[in-house]
């Protein structure tokens, strides 16, 4: 058998690690561990210099295992694996030890014990590394068709974008018409273009693309499979179902408006929502003979909905401009907490509204306005005085909120939501339109309230991301899946019911019922392996002997 030759790279991460741990002690200790033939300290192992040191060491010292003790696999595992591969070493002979998140950042005040813990973790990593086996990525074919959930501006935009690239699209819309929220809106700021113009333009494009299949009145009720081979069941109100196959899914299911009825005596006549004002403003004959008072942050930025509705301030400003331009004699008041006019175009509109004579009155959350039958009473903390403003129309800025069945959709697609029930992307900053599950993407207000502009570029971004597996016709899946020994399996089905990824099914074989693992769907979480009472399932990259060696090393010192 080949001699095991392990290289250990200890990262300083600038001072993130080196500032709190004795890195040279750790490196020196690592060099005394069994099978370790090379150790090196790097300022940043992830830098190009650090990477080339790994590659050089593999070649020069004939390393056949690499251990990097640095940060988290989430940031740099792919990088270090690739470095191994480029130097001719199988990437699965690499082991990551996290001495930053697990040690230096959490034991900042105890250098000695932190250093000792880092030694322990490296000893464990080295023990596991010795038993690692080479593996190959698994290639899974991808059906070059996409399912898009939601026929609003986001869903339609990504459908058009994908169809233009030659991919077949299945667009599932729960209502009986396409167009979504934009159908109800009047004018879109900052360009002050017609909302209907925008959506009709996109609809026209969509209707002229034969690759787009539309399922109106349908919603998803079940989903099987994984990236490359999804099978979705959609159902209409008559409980008729259809089955759609696709390689990827884009979620663009949008939001609903918060029910305004608990707030400020909403009545739908002279106390309405900003959203309803949109419809009124598209009506030529609208007559308003007295003041219009707009109240911001209605049902948002409170204990019930902590978030900011994001688009309501600009909607109010836009509508105040439209009102003033329609009839300068109308006095418009915007009662606000913080005016959210971010970016350069919006600030210009805010100034325009002010120049047109729109009054802005600040209030604090502790002293909200009161709406009586004929006046809005409001205390302005900035002016330290109370206003009593008669109104002919009071307009409430209620936020968009997630659909009531967002949880159900989340369960069907197996993608997470946040505490507000907005869908939760893979990474808030760096992967804003991906879900952690491969092959499912998110755009539009289902992710977070957004403007038309944002919905469209997010949709384009989803289409771009989705085009990669669709265009390649295949994806690589990490070979960390579970493995079944069919001779031992009794077909009890325990693993089938426990698998959170629907990656195991029961099949009839010559030898009776047996579990079958759908490798492309398996995430290697280990639930099946640890619960199988027959020990018929092993995890291919986390084998019992590898983990046991790690545990034994933990207590060895």
């Amino acid at each position: 058998m080949e001699e095991t030759r392990i290289g250990v790279f200890v990262c300083k991460c600038g001072t993130n690690i080196a500032g709190f741990l004795d890195v040279s002690d750790i490196a020196e200790y690592s060099s005394t561990l069994p099978d370790v033939v090379f150790t090196k300290v790097n300022l940043f192992t992830c830098s190009e210099a650090g990477i080339s040191e790994i590659k050089n060491a593999i070649v020069q010292h004939n390393l056949n295992r690499v251990v990097v003790s640095a940060c988290t696999p989430r940031t740099h595992e792919p990088t270090f694996r690739a470095a191994c591969q480029e130097a001719g070493l199988n990437p699965f002979l690499f082991e990551f030890v996290n001495i930053r998140e697990h040690v230096s950042w959490v034991h900042k005040n105890d250098r000695e014990k932190g250093t000792k813990k880092a030694r322990d973790l490296i000893r464990m990593g080295v023990a596991r590394a010795a038993l690692l086996e080479p593996k190959e990525f698994i290639e899974v074919p991808v059906l070059n068709e996409a399912i898009i959930i939601g026929g609003g501006v986001a869903g339609l935009s990504s459908a058009v974008s994908l169809a233009k690239r030659g991919f077949k699209v299945h667009l599932v819309e729960r209502s009986n018409k396409l167009g979504g929220r934009l159908l109800d809106l009047n004018i879109i700021q900052p360009e002050m273009t017609s909302a209907k113009g925008i959506i009709e333009d996109i609809l026209h494009e969509a209707e002229n693309l034969p690759l787009i299949n539309i399922y109106k009145g349908y919603k998803p009720v079940d989903l099987k499979g994984c990236i490359g081979a999804y099978k979705m069941i959609v159902e209409n109100s008559k409980k008729e179902t259809k089955e759609i196959d696709s390689g990827v899914i884009i979620l663009a299911s949008g939001t609903r408006m918060l029910d305004p009825s608990p707030y400020y005596g909403y009545n739908g006549r002279n106390i309405i929502t900003q959203y309803e004002l949109e419809k009124l403003l598209s009506n030529e004959d609208l007559e308003i003979n007295n003041n219009v008072v707009m109240i911001q942050c209605v049902g948002s930025r409170n204990s019930e909905n902590v978030f900011c509705g994001k688009i309501c301030c600009m909607e109010a400003i836009k509508n105040s401009i439209l009102l003033k331009e329609r009839d300068d004699r109308i006095d418009v008041y915007i009662i606000y907490r913080d005016i959210q006019a971010l970016g350069h175009e919006n600030e210009r509109l805010l100034r325009k509204a002010k120049n047109l004579g729109v009054r802005f009155i600040h209030y604090s959350a502790e002293k909200p306005p009161e709406v009586t039958k004929d006046a809005v009473k409001i205390y302005s903390d900035i002016l330290n005085r109370e206003f009593n403003i008669p109104y002919s129309l009071a307009v409430l800025a209620t936020p968009q909120i997630p659909h009531s069945d967002a949880q159900e959709l989340s369960r069907i697609l197996k993608v997470p939501t946040d505490e507000n029930n907005f869908f939760l992307e893979a990474h808030m900053k760096l992967r804003p339109i991906d879900f952690a599950t491969d092959g499912i993407f998110i755009c539009g207000s289902a992710r977070w309230p957004c403007t038309v502009n944002e919905a469209i570029y997010q949709a384009e971004a989803c289409a771009a991301r989705a085009s990669i597996p669709l265009g390649n016709g295949k994806v690589k899946v990490e070979p960390i899946n579970s493995l079944l020994d069919e001779d031992i399996c009794r077909g009890c089905g325990l693993c089938v019911s426990l698998c959170p990824y629907k990656a195991i099914e029961l099949v009839n074989t010559d030898k009776g019922k047996k579990a079958k693992i759908i490798i492309a769907a398996c995430k290697g979480c280990g639930v099946c392996g640890s619960t199988c009472y027959r020990h018929a399932i092993t995890m291919s990259h986390y084998k019992d002997e590898q983990l046991l060696a790690q545990i034994e090393a933990c207590f060895k010192e």
């Binding site: 993130n16 500032g19 992967r431 339109i433 997010q458 384009e460 771009a464």
Partner: protein, 369 residues
């Protein structure tokens, strides 16, 4: 960044400027000037022997001029491509034909003082602009004393001080006496939302100031943060929670009021004069350090680039786009993403980047057939 650096399909032309673009969508011809590094990129492996020997010390721009670098340097340690560059305006050999030490220090022979700028022509199907932003210089806003009062710094300078790999290793040592700053004021809208400077909102400052104040507290339990704001603009995903967390868990004081003036006392402590608009009181607050959230502007040289590319820019100098085509410029085949369109935070920039890449790839692929 490293992923980009290692990707077999990405050719990086760093330290380069676009000279001109001809042709049209699907067949642009771009002329690019690769500025001379005086270091042979195919030989240098960034070992750093030359840097250790170089006698010339220059202010380090990456550290916002707090630290020093050498005349031969790498912009920052994780930078790609990982090679050294000689600053031709500071190098003694190049400016005065003296020294030449780095050439002797380099055992691989990568130094080439005679190296000239090189012009390359490349043919491309589409172009993406992602030139980012710069900060508005604010020394002309004399009421804030930036440049005169030592302990008044900008948000970007603060980023380097609080960064573990920065010039102070993450300790908030203030410029005047290198003492740890406990009490820090963060001032919003410095040059932004200001008719005489940048009329627009820079969009990212309210949130990064909360983050800055939280970081200070994490580094130093005695830290006190005061954020002076007008409208507090925290609208992105979970930003309201973050604002609350800053107040409740980090004890950051949010004060609604624009600072009017900053002076300093005998110990170089800045004094912030302001009106607390919620109580209508004129007050003053003496702090150890002031951090100015200065306005973000299109990056230096961007207007010239826009002219070369023949794309339209808007009133504030950003790329002109519209809601229907949010990452497309006025010229077919040229796309934009990130701050060059308008102030944007990370997830917005990332999503715009993917969108622009998709549209640009579509043109390239249809050209390839």
């Amino acid at each position: 960044m490293l992923d980009v650096g290692r990707h077999p399909m990405i050719d990086i032309l760093a330290y380069s400027e676009l000279e001109s673009v001809e042709g049209e969508s699907s067949s642009f011809k771009a002329t690019i000037r690769k500025k001379s590094r005086y270091v042979n990129a195919s030989i240098c492996n960034a070992c750093g022997d030359c840097v250790a020997k170089c006698p010339v010390k220059v202010k380090n721009e990456f550290d916002m001029n707090f630290g020093v670098r050498k005349a031969i340097y790498q912009y920052f340690p994780q930078g790609i491509p990982s090679i050294m560059t000689i600053d031709g305006t500071k190098c003694l050999k190049i400016t005065q034909n003296k020294c030449g030490i780095c050439s002797k220090a380099c055992v691989k022979g990568a130094i080439d003082y005679e190296m000239k700028d090189e012009t390359v022509e490349i043919e491309v199907a589409s172009i993406i602009i992602a030139t980012g932003f710069d900060m508005l210089p604010v020394s002309h806003l004399t009421q804030y004393g930036y440049g005169k009062i030592k302990n008044v710094i900008t948000g970007l300078e603060y980023e380097r001080l609080i960064n573990a790999t920065g010039p102070t290793e993450g300790h908030l040592y203030r410029p005047s006496d290198k003492k740890l700053a406990h009490k820090v004021a963060y001032l919003q809208c410095i040059g932004s939302r200001d008719q005489n400077n940048c009329a627009y909102c820079s969009s990212v400052c309210c949130m990064y100031s909360i983050k800055d104040a939280m970081l200070a507290k994490e580094h130093d339990s005695e830290a006190e943060g005061y954020i002076f704001h007008t409208d507090f603009r925290n609208v992105g995903k979970w930003f309201q929670n973050y604002e609350k967390k800053g107040k409740n868990d980090y004890d950051i004081k949010y004060i609604r009021g624009r600072a009017a003036e900053i002076t300093e006392d005998a110990d170089n402590n800045p004094i912030v004069f302001y009106e607390d608009t919620k109580t209508q009181e004129i007050r003053q607050l003496t702090v150890d350090l002031v951090v100015l959230a200065t306005a973000t502007i299109p990056s230096k040289g961007f207007q010239e680039l826009a002219r070369k590319l023949r794309i339209e820019t808007g009133k504030d100098g950003f790329v002109q786009t519209n809601s229907r085509l949010p990452v497309s410029t006025s010229r077919k085949g040229i796309f934009a993403c990130g701050f060059c369109i308008a102030p944007a935070d990370i997830p917005e920039s990332v999503a715009q980047g993917a969108a622009a890449a998709g549209l640009a790839a579509q043109i390239a692929l249809s050209r390839a057939g």
